[in-house]
């Protein structure tokens, strides 16, 4: 199981505390990009009226997703326990193919790089990549 060093956890917490005021926009941007650049992801949202970048549904869901990410930052010392409810949700209700987690993570990284270029050093980049991969793992814990 991949684990984050103390230094990496600090980098992640510091970075996300700096962007905490912009999470709604970040969520919207990341989700918009995911739906555009990887259109196969739209299959999970067929029940939405409007899947275009920045639509009301996309904005709302971007906010939800980032809420989960910020919760994960707080629970960074024990993601599997801490994200138990979200894990149940993704495994038994949403049943999102886990390959899509990688896709959303990449889109998030692009948006984070865009919005905070001065803070997105290579060391921070790898820490956040690892963190998001750990979150993805925690979310797919219950799949089988």
């Amino acid at each position: 199981k991949m684990s984050l060093s103390a230094k990496e956890k600090t980098l992640v917490k510091t970075f996300f505390s700096k962007v905490s005021g912009r999470v709604d926009d970040i969520g919207n941007e990341a989700l918009s990009r995911m739906l555009t650049v990887y259109p196969q992801t739209k299959t999970y949202f067929a029940h939405w009226q409007d899947l275009s970048p920045g639509s009301a549904s996309v904005r709302k869901h971007g906010k939800t997703v980032m809420g989960g990410v910020m919760e994960a930052v707080e629970k960074i010392d024990n993601l599997c326990e801490g994200l138990r409810n979200l894990s149940d949700l993704h495994a038994f209700v949403l049943r999102v193919d886990p390959s899509n987690f990688k896709i959303l993570c990449h889109c998030l990284l692009v948006v984070l790089a865009m919005t905070s270029p001065e803070d997105f050093s290579p060391e921070t980049h790898v820490a956040i990549d690892k963190f998001l991969a750990s979150v993805s793992l925690a979310l797919s814990e219950k799949y089988r």
Binding site: E29, S32, R33, T36, V37, P53, H106, L109, V110, V111, A113, M114, T115, P117, F120, S121, P122, E123, H125, V126, D129
Partner: protein, 147 residues
């Protein structure tokens, strides 16, 4: 056969005009080696890759980054001939270098991220979409001669 719309061609031209391949190349390759350290397996002769600082300051990494971006540059300027452009390079990556093609996607992702760092909000949804389509075409071409 890949089809490029006029809008996509225009986007690629506009984006690439602002790319400094001598900067983006080294930065993207450095991030690949730092963020996905298993990729270092292909660069045993590059010397000190022991830390992010070492990688960022390594002249062989920088030189190789530039070589990779020069090849991408040729592809951008010949969007309709990408498949042929990469035939020889594909054979080399498969037969001589033995690079797992999944790594092409990782490097492509790093290039996208470096462009996002440089361009900020100009690297919008549409631009990212077009650029990643370009990367996907390159990656397909590079993977073609593997058997």
């Amino acid at each position: 056969m890949v089809k490029w719309t006029d809008a996509e061609r225009a986007t690629m031209k506009k984006v690439w005009e602002k790319v400094n391949i001598n900067e983006v190349g080294p930065q993207a390759l450095a991030r690949l080696l730092i963020v996905y350290p298993w990729t270092q397996r292909y660069f045993g002769s590059f010397g000190d890759l022991s830390s992010p600082a070492a990688i960022v300051g390594n002249p062989k990494v920088a030189a190789h980054g530039k070589i990779v971006l020069k090849s991408l540059d040729k592809a951008v300027k010949n969007l309709d001939g990408i498949k042929n452009h990469y035939v020889e390079l594909s054979e080399i990556h498969s037969e001589k270098l033995h690079v797992d093609p999944d790594n092409f996607r990782l490097l492509g992702d790093c290039v996208s991220i470096v462009l996002a760092l440089k361009f900020g909000s100009a690297f919008n949804c549409e631009v990212q979409n077009t650029f990643q389509k370009f990367l996907a075409v390159v990656i397909y071409a590079l993977s073609r001669q593997y058997y």
